[in-house]
């Protein structure tokens, strides 16, 4: 097997992976970085983020306000030391991107513009029209091209981590072009593989978001933390699940039910604000969990609009006018017109909640370090507990910058400590490869990959959707376990070594099933309602028993074992989330 010796291997070349790679490359040109990704960097799903990245910018704002918004937005499940560091570093990272050429939208005086965003008390979301993630990703990618010590391995699909005696020593991957396997021996491994929205049937997430890093860490014995917290974005296009940014509401778009009524005022986010004059942190600028939950109630009450693609509410942006929509929301206009045939300039656009983001992920500390020495995780695949039980829109783009850099520099520090031992790598890599070869060569499978995948997705939506209860979660847990069994009988029909996406999808399905079981099992045991995790049978937040992070550990043949760890509270004791716009 071909072997690459490198100091650091980064898996995933989206925003987090690229930021980390640049930080390492800048810190020391002698440190070698292998940047391994299953797609070319610019295909990474960071490109689909639209609205912007949060960081305190204006004199009427403060780090403390950003801290408070994030902690209450996360329903007090955030680790507050992490939030403190985050809000402090956020503006610096956004200026850094500015220096690297990010085409941020500008005010007339030439300074970077900020827009309002859900759950944020002040305007602090830096944006590049409605393609902010795209521009951040391409700015990072293009900037990374100047560093000779970053070696890219594009379209290499990672199979598993290599580790022994509590230490991670590399990864094994498959080159898509040749089907050849490649072992990476490294002193540090940084996972930056993004989320796992594809475990659900209706998601904003691209096809590549299959939880590969989460599953690899989980199989290596690292716990996945707070996996029950899945964010539904309130405004997805029906049918495709394409995201319409929160910026639509930040700019003044309103949500109405089939009677034309702005229903959010009935769900603790009123009173109503005047059309065209959005007020921060209330009504349409409430947090995503609350807005998606309000949709569910309207739907149950029969006040949603029937469309060809299911029940919806309407996002009305007509009052913004064509010029403003073209300037601030051009992608939204193109997407809504193309995919559902509604032009926001002339029509209210049907929307419904759609799975968007995993608050949970690989358990890390503030430095991005996991329980497995030498293994780091950053971005959506990680859970450093910035976002708690509900992430505020525009915090995650900044998160991948702030903690991408911090983890990278920590990994550099660690290079000088201890001895990496790649002695066991060869054998482990061969084992992992043998598993893939067996899957590829199996010819007596009686299960269909597509069917197992569909059943997994539907089961999660049925049992672990916006609202959950014990019966539904029990059923989902059982279904996922059964699907794990059935997975053993799937057959890959494509036997080619060259760009075999049938094989890739089979490996991704394994990863998705592993992640899915942690979502269902964690949700089942959290018998309270907090943030994005809402139980119909336990409707209140329970700080006595559940002001805790859940940690899911893999157990062969059964559901994961769940342990609990403390939340770090520094200065904000659990309080009431107030989106009534009381100070308006």
């Amino acid at each position: 097997m071909e072997t690459v010796q490198t100091d650091v291997v980064i898996v995933g070349a989206g925003g987090a992976g690229l930021r980390a790679a640049i930080a390492i490359a800048e810190s020391n040109s002698k440190i070698s970085v292998a940047l391994v990704s299953k797609v070319y960097p610019m295909r990474s799903h960071t490109c689909a983020a639209e609205g912007g990245a949060a960081g305190v910018k204006r004199s009427d704002d403060s780090l403390e306000m950003h801290f408070n918004d994030t902690v209450s937005g996360g329903d007090w499940l955030c680790d507050q030391d992490v939030v403190e560091y985050f809000v402090q570093q956020a503006p610096l990272e956004l200026v850094q991107l500015e220096h690297w050429g990010c085409p941020w939208s500008r005010d007339d005086d030439g300074s970077v513009s900020v827009r309002p965003f859900g759950g944020m008390k002040k305007k602090r979301t830096w944006y590049a029209a409605d393609k902010s993630g795209f521009h951040i990703l391409h700015t990072l990618f293009q900037t990374s091209l100047q560093f000779k010590n970053i070696q890219r391995f594009d379209e290499f699909f990672c199979i598993d981590l290599l580790h022994s005696d509590g230490r991670c020593n590399g990864v094994v991957a498959m080159e898509m072009r040749s089907g050849k396997f490649c072992r990476f021996d490294a002193k540090s491994v940084i996972l930056a593989t993004g989320g796992a929205g594809r475990i659900f049937p209706f998601t904003t997430n691209g096809a590549i978001k299959t939880g590969d890093g989460m599953a690899m860490a989980y199989r290596a014995g690292v716990p996945l933390k707070d996996m029950e917290f899945v964010q539904y974005h309130p405004t997805g296009l029906p049918g495709t699940g394409i995201l319409l940014t929160e910026g639509c509401r930040g700019e003044g778009g309103v949500l109405v039910n089939k009677d034309g009524y702005r229903y959010l005022q009935d769900y603790g986010m009123g009173p109503e604000t005047p059309i065209g004059e959005p007020v921060l942190k209330t009504m349409e600028l409430g947090p995503r969990d609350r807005l998606s939950q309000a949709f569910w109630h309207e739907w149950r009450a029969g006040r949603t609009v029937e469309t060809n693609w299911g029940d919806c509410v309407l996002l009305d942006m007509r009052h913004l006018g064509e010029q403003r929509i073209n300037e601030r929301l051009p992608l939204v206009r193109e997407l809504a017109s193309s995919y559902v045939g509604y032009d926001p300039v002339t029509d209210p656009v049907p929307v419904r909640p759609v799975v968007h983001y995993m608050m949970g992920g690989i358990d890390t500390n503030i430095d991005g370090e996991t329980a497995l020495s030498g293994l780091f995780a950053i971005g959506e695949t990680a859970c450093g507990s910035l976002n708690g039980a509900n992430r505020l829109g525009s915090n995650s783009l900044t998160e991948l910058l702030v903690f991408g850099k911090r983890a990278a520099l920590k990994a550099v520090d660690r290079l000088h400590e201890g001895e990496a031992s790649a002695a066991g790598n060869a054998e482990q890599a061969e084992q992992a490869v043998a598993g893939v070869r067996e899957l590829l060569q199996r010819s007596d499978g009686d299960e269909s990959l597509g069917a197992v995948r569909r059943e997994m997705m539907n089961s999660l939506e049925d049992g672990a959707g916006i609202y959950r209860d014990a019966d539904g979660l029990d059923q989902t847990c059982n279904t996922i376990l059964e699907l794990q069994q059935r997975y053993q009988g799937i057959e890959v029909h494509d036997k080619s070594n060259v760009f075999n996406t049938d094989l890739q999808q089979a490996l991704e399905l394994k990863n998705m099933l592993d992640v899915a079981e942690t979502v269902a099992a964690s949700a089942r045991l959290r018998t309270e309602s907090r943030g994005a995790h809402q139980r119909l049978d336990f409707t209140e937040r329970d700080d006595q028993d559940f002001l805790k992070h859940s940690l899911a550990y893999q157990q062969a043949g059964k559901l994961p074992g769940i342990e609990w760890s403390d939340v770090t509270i520094t200065r904000s004791p659990p309080g009431v989330r107030d989106y009534s716009g009381g100070e308006r």
């Binding site: 295909r43 490109c47 200026v95 085409p103 500008r106 005086d109 795209f134 997407l335 760009f499």
Partner: protein, 252 residues
């Protein structure tokens, strides 16, 4: 959109197949796909992959015209398959890999050439003077932003290369997307690397090789207009050439 518009129509989709381990030449295979009228052609490929033939290989991810993975030839025209809709297509559709690139497998092409050109084009901010302090941004007026913003929209989907007659004739040609990106940095008020880039791109394989057919700009799914970028660079390159002849050693 009315219910009637969402009716199903069966498309006969001819897909180019090629597995270098088995096939001497690419060939076509036809699939009958029951398509909804609101589908993109990408949805039809996904239907084939999931229901008819799991051995078909192609790239895709975002399904929202921004990741740039799914560029292919649809009835001979290069486009993103998530941007071409069933409602605009006849009953017979031919899907091929992007023209002007070697085929890796089925609808997947080899991108090494353009990725290599991008690697060399210095598409990042170059400074002669130090940047502002870590917490101070450059001032850039909305008008200065507008000068280059269009050229930042490139998603590297390579559709323009599939349309470019010059790239077809001469693979050494740097080509539209990379030139437009280099020009994007040349026009950015924060950048001071224009003359270095012109040293690379102002030569025969760069701007001077473009024959100004403008096909790149016509097919660009993001309206980047690489042809205009190359035209503007050509003017700059001739200016720099004259200056260097008159004042050797000077960088404009």
């Amino acid at each position: 959109m009315s219910q009637a518009e969402l009716r199903t129509r069966t498309l006969e989709i001819e897909v180019m197949r090629y597995d270098p381990e088995q096939d001497k030449e690419p060939h076509f295979r036809t699939y009958s796909v029951p398509c909804q009228e609101d589908w993109a052609i990408l949805d039809a490929l996904n239907y084939i992959k999931e229901n008819l033939d799991s051995t078909l290989s192609y790239r895709w991810s975002c399904h929202m015209m921004v990741c740039g993975s799914c560029g292919m030839m649809i009835n001979g025209e290069p486009s993103l398959t998530c941007k071409v809709f069933v409602r605009d297509l006849p009953d017979n559709v031919r899907v091929e890999p992007l023209a002007n690139f070697p085929i890796e497998r089925d609808l997947v092409v080899v991108l090494d050439d353009v990725m290599g050109k991008l690697q060399n084009a210095q598409t990042y901010i170059i400074r002669q003077d130090p940047p502002p302090a870590d917490d101070v941004e450059y001032k850039q007026s909305p008008a200065e932003l507008m000068k280059f913003k269009q050229y930042t929209m490139c998603i590297n989907c390579m559709v323009c290369y599939a349309a470019c007659p010059q790239y077809n004739l001469d693979p050494e040609f740097t080509g539209p997307a990379v030139m437009a990106l280099a020009h994007r940095y040349n026009l950015d008020s924060r950048d001071q690397g224009r003359s270095e880039r012109l040293d690379i791109l102002g030569d025969h394989d760069g701007v001077w090789n473009c024959s100004f057919v403008g096909a790149c700009s016509e097919v660009c799914p993001k309206h980047v207009d690489p042809a205009a970028a190359i035209q503007q660079m050509k003017i700059e390159a001739s200016g720099q050439w004259v200056l260097q002849k008159l004042l050797p050693g000077r960088k404009s």
